[in-house]
Structures are given as C-alpha cells and as structure tokens.
C-alpha cells in the first residue's frame, strides 16, 4: 500500500516537474526539431479598410494587407486563422469588432489585428490595433498610427513595422525580423555580383558592379557593412562595402587565395581563410581592416569557412579536410582546443552558429552520390535535425537574428535560388526568381 502511494507520488511529481520544464522551454523561442508541431498563438487579421476609394488608396492598402499577412504568417510564433471563417463585414475601427464573434469555436482567435488606412498629401497613414480578445479588462494591446510616404516601399515599411510590434509582443519580447535584409550573390546580369534584398525577397538590388566574380558575403554586426570575396584583379581578396552608400573600406591584401570573411560579434575583427603563408588555406583573424593578421590553424589541407560563436565570441567553427573529407570543427578563438563536431561521415560544410550560440546549422552530404541537405546540430545533445529533404542540393544556411528562421540556397527548382524557412524546416518560401543565386547572408537587426 505504502509502496503504491509512494510510486503514485513520484509519478505525479515527475509529471508536474516535466510540465513546468516544458512550460519554460516553450516560452518565446520556437521549439526546434523537424515539424515538431508547435502551434503558435491564434490571431485573426481581417483586411485593413481604405478610407478613400481612389485607386492609390486601394492599391497601397491591398499591398499593406498582403505584407502584414505574410510577415505574421511566416513569423513562426503565430497561427493565422483563415479569412474564410471570419464574420461578414468590414472591420475598420473598434466599433466594428464584436469579440464574441472572433472567440467562437470556429475561429477561436486570441488576438485580432485590424484597422484602416488613409492615403493623401503624399502620405499613407495606418491606424492599426491589436486586441487581446481574451482579456476583456484590457483589450487593446497595441493602438498605433503608422505613417510613411504613399509609395509601395512606404506601404511595405509600415506593414513590416506593425508586424514586428505584434511579433515582439506575442513572441515573448523577441524582436521580429520583418525589417532585416539578406545579402546574396547573383549572376542575373552575367557576372556574379553582390545583391541585397528585404527578408521576404522584395526590393532586391545590386551593391557591386565588378563584372568579375564576387562570393561569400558576411554582415558586420551593426548591419552597416558587408565583407565578401572579390576576384576583381584575378586574385581572391577580401573587400568591404557600406550597404548604405556603397563606400568601400580597405582590407589589406593578404596574398594567396584569401576568402570566406566573417565578422566577430563585437565588430572589431574578421576571421577568414588564406593561403598567404603556405601551400593551403588556413584560418586567420585580423582587425577588420586586415591588419595584425594572426594565424589560428596549422594543418595540412583545406581550412576554410570560419564562423564565430555569435553569443560569446569565444569560439570559431570552421571546415577542414584534415581527416580526409571536409568536416566541421570548433576551436577556441585563439586556435586551441580543436574538436570535430559532426562525426557521422560524408561531407559536412557551411557551419552557421545560431544567435543564441546553442546550435550550428550546416549542409551535409551524407554520401558522395547524395544531395546536400540543411541540418541543425544541437551542441548540448550532439543531435542533428534534418530540415530539408533533398530535391536538389540545399546549402549554406544563414540564421535570422531572432534565431527563428534560416535562409539557404537550393537547386530544388533547377537553377539555384535563395529560400527561407522556419528553423524547424517548415514555411519554406522562395525569395529569388531570376538567375543563379547563392551564398545568402542574413543581416542582424538594422538600425531604424
């Protein structure tokens, strides 16, 4: 009898404890793992209503509605209730919302985002609200007037701003990434040049016009500069460009083949690979102008693709073929304590450390005849989660600054394009449409 009671007590305690643990893990960060079935908070987003009936009001409001919907839909923290379930009517202001309509079982939304837009005098102004439908005492979570120029860019900008406010509020205080950018390489004009686009693929434009080969972009942590490999003078060197005014910054020429630059988390240094002093590429670190270069690796073979632990700045992941095939290693920032992290064979490349420092996304080709796929390696458990399922090569993952998304390149539709997905492999969307597109690099949060 006593034994039974004791056993029951232990079970109850274990369940209670694990639930508590689960609740803590669940907080803001999305749970990683392939299709782990996490359902975000449910939100209804009826279309914002234009107050004018002119073509421009309609067009810009429609664009605002589309961008807001996509931002929330791809955020990874929300589940959007389909508009086909909504009550009939127009939902422009507080008087139009009957909370009980939106909390009925068919919809069961916890939040509703709604409002209206006014276009005139060269401006678009949106009155935007977010209501917490399950808190009758304090409904209005956000009530804000957002304005910009009456252009497509302006409509997009305020949609992104409102989406980020919602995502930050509901997503546990972690800022949304709707206003971040992705740098990448495209050959759509013939030569491989550096490009930059919004995180959702809009507003893409070239930053270089070298008419040569440009590869491997990397953002400075402040989002102001991009370092990359350039073959401008028929030598592989590192160049640095301001993303804002395209002003070049000097990086001292290293000699040999010098490539794969990556910024340290504090912005003061760049790690890179160069064969300046020997017969193969080794990992070096220098001030971000290329001075005071220090060699970190000493091994026969290729050492390339360094990536700093962005949280601590104390470790660097990199690729080496010292074991015979390309594999991912981690070393301390001084070059000591080298250890291999992916042990299961094949070829493992493109390490990208998550913003929280706990995981490394990488591309893995498990055998010589298989495709590359994107995996996430959890450093604490050593577990590898597969995020893409072949259908062409999937390579070069790059994390969004909130750690909830990855962009990568894939040949799944023939030509190489940039895609984004949630960090559990869901919500994949193609961001580029023309040419061959490679080497995405997701910016940090940009100063607004």
């Amino acid at each position: 009898m006593m034994k039974k009671i004791l056993a029951l007590a232990i079970v109850v305690a274990a369940v209670t404890f694990s639930r508590g643990l689960y609740a803590r893990v669940q907080t803001p960060q999305i749970q990683t793992g392939t299709r782990s079935g996490v359902i975000g908070v449910k939100i209804a987003v009826p279309e914002f209503q234009p107050l004018g009936a002119d073509a421009k009001s309609l067009q810009l409001t429609e664009l605002f509605n589309k961008v807001l919907w996509d931002d929330l839909d791809y955020s990874g923290v929300l589940t959007l209730v389909s508009r086909s379930f909504y009550p009939l009517g127009k939902f422009s202001g507080p008087g139009d919302i009957k909370p009980e309509d939106w909390t009925a079982p068919a919809i069961d939304a916890q939040f509703i985002a709604f409002g209206n837009s006014r276009v005139g005098d060269g401006r678009i102004t949106v009155e935007a609200r977010l209501w917490d439908l399950k808190r009758p005492d304090n409904r209005e979570a956000i009530g804000k007037r957002l304005g910009s120029t009456d252009t497509e860019e302006g409509a997009r900008l305020i949609a992104h701003q409102f989406a980020d406010l919602i995502i930050e509020l509901i997503g546990g205080g972690i800022k949304g990434v709707s206003l971040t950018k992705i740098a990448y390489i495209s050959d759509r004009t013939g030569a491989k040049e550096l490009y930059m686009m919004d995180y959702d693929g809009n507003d893409s434009h070239a930053l270089t016009n070298e008419k040569s080969i440009v590869l491997t972009p990397s953002w400075s942590p402040d989002g102001e500069k991009i370092a990359f490999t350039s073959f401008k003078l028929n030598q592989a060197n590192i160049e640095i460009l301001s993303r804002i005014d395209r002003k070049p910054y000097n990086f001292v020429r290293q000699g040999g083949t010098t490539t794969t630059p990556v910024w340290s988390p504090d912005g003061s240094k760049i790690a890179y690979a160069t064969s300046r002093d020997g017969s193969d590429t080794e990992i070096y670190v220098a001030d971000w102008n290329g001075r005071n270069a220090k060699r970190l690796t000493v091994s026969k073979g290729v050492d390339i693709s360094p990536f700093w632990n962005p949280r601590t700045g104390r470790e660097i992941a990199f690729v080496s073929d010292r074991s015979g095939t390309a594999q991912i290693y981690i070393m301390d920032a001084e070059g000591t304590n080298v250890r291999r992290i992916i042990m299961d064979g094949g070829t493992a490349v493109n390490p990208a450390w998550s913003p929280d420092g706990q995981r490394i996304a990488f591309a893995w080709q498990k055998s010589r005849t298989s495709y590359f796929d994107i995996y996430v390696h959890d450093l604490a458990s050593g577990k590898n989660d597969q995020l893409t399922q072949s259908a062409g090569d999937n390579e070069r993952p790059t994390w969004s600054p909130d750690g909830r998304h990855l962009a990568f390149e894939s040949t799944r539709n023939g030509s190489s394009h940039i895609y984004s997905m949630l960090a559990d492999g869901t919500k994949v969307r193609q961001l580029t449409q023309s040419g061959k597109n490679q080497g995405p690099a997701w910016s940090g949060y940009l100063g607004q």
Binding site: T229, A236, T257, V349, Q438
Partner: protein, 256 residues
Amino acid sequence: MTVFRFKNLGLLLLFLLVFVTFSCSKKPVAVQPPPPPPPPVVPAPAPTITLRANPATVERGQPVTLAWQAQNAATVQIDPGIGAVMATGNRMVNPASSVTYTAKATGPGGEATDIARVTVNVPPPPPPVERPAPKPPDVSIDELLRQRVQDVLFDYDKSDIRPSEVAKLQASAAFFKEHSEVRVTIDGNADERGSQEYNLGLGDRRANTVKEFLVMQGVNANRMMTVSYGEERPVCREQTEDCYQKNRRAGFTRNP
C-alpha cells in the same frame, strides 16, 4: 495558285533549257568544211595567204584586228585560238600577252602560211608596298606557353599530382627554365560537386601543389603566383564525369 504558277514557270524554264541546248549544238555543224571539189584535171595553182594584225602593238586589254586573205585554198586555219575560217575575213582578238598568230591555207596546189606578231605591253606591276619586317619564324611566347605548358588534371577531391601528369609538368618545368623571363599565375579549379567554399580551398591546394612541383624541378618560386577559382570557372558545363574531369585542373596564364 502560287504553286501552280511556279510549276508552270519550271516547265517553261526546262523547255527553254532544252531548246537552247539543241540550238547551240547545231553551231559546230555549220563550221564543217565543205565537201572537197572534184579532182582537177589541170595542176592546181599553189595557195597564197596573208595575215595582218592591226595594230601590231597594244596595251593589255586593248583589241587587235586580225585580217586575212587566202587564194586557191580549200581550208584556212588560224592559230592559236581561232581555228578554221573562211578564205577571207577578219576577227577581233584581245590577247592577254604577246602572241604570234599563224594562218595556214591548204589547197589542192599545196600549203601556204603567214604569221602576224601581236605585241602586248603589260603594265608594270605596282610598286611593292612597304611591308613591316617579316615576323621571326619562331612563334610568340604565349603560343609556346600554350603548346608546351599544359593543364594539370586531378582526381575527385584530391590535390596530389597523379602519375599521368608528371611528364606534362616536367615539360612545363623545362619550358620555364628555357624562358626565364616568363612569369605565370597558376589557377586551381574544381568541379561543381562539393561545397562552393570548400572548392575554393581545394582549387587553392591544386594550384599550390603544381607550384611546389615546379619549384622542386628548379623553377624559381617568385615567378609563379597562384589563385583558386574553386568551381567558378568551368571549361565544361555538362554533368558528366568526363566534364568534371576537365574542370578538375590547374591552368597557367602568363603575367604581363
């Protein structure tokens, strides 16, 4: 309609062609010599012939008139290039160079010949254009580099020199030692398989392995730069092993 018209046109052309061919083929018949006269009872008089060219001297391209007159002749033949003619006549000729025409009259009383010389003045050739000095017989240094220094090929994901490439590299080393002024950049390349970034490292190893081999053969290291293009500069774009092999290479470019 159009088809029919073309068909009719074709028939018409065919008819014309046949007609022209047959009417042309009659011409030689007209030149046949007349049947010989019945044998004379009295001894026939000897034939005579005169042949004159007017003018006797021309510039090239100008016409000359040949005039002849024969008596007691059954046939008259003028050479070169004219053949059998009537007993009396003239003909415009346009010789390209000086020539001597011979007229021969043949009759029952024997033969007679006359000649006429036409002098054709050929204009002097244009003065020779001042040409640049002829090129030296030996080929340019770039051509030699292309001929004697060949691309080095590699195995998949390898950068060591395989036995098949050693003779090529020894020939290259000999060339570089003969032409000590030549400086080169060695470019290392990879096929498209594997990661783009890793392939930059692999191409770099290949370029440097080639450089080190040449240094061992006695070529000064300072004359050789290296660069890796990874998989960025394929010479072949198909996804076949044959093509991949062509792209796993180290090449040479002369530095100015």
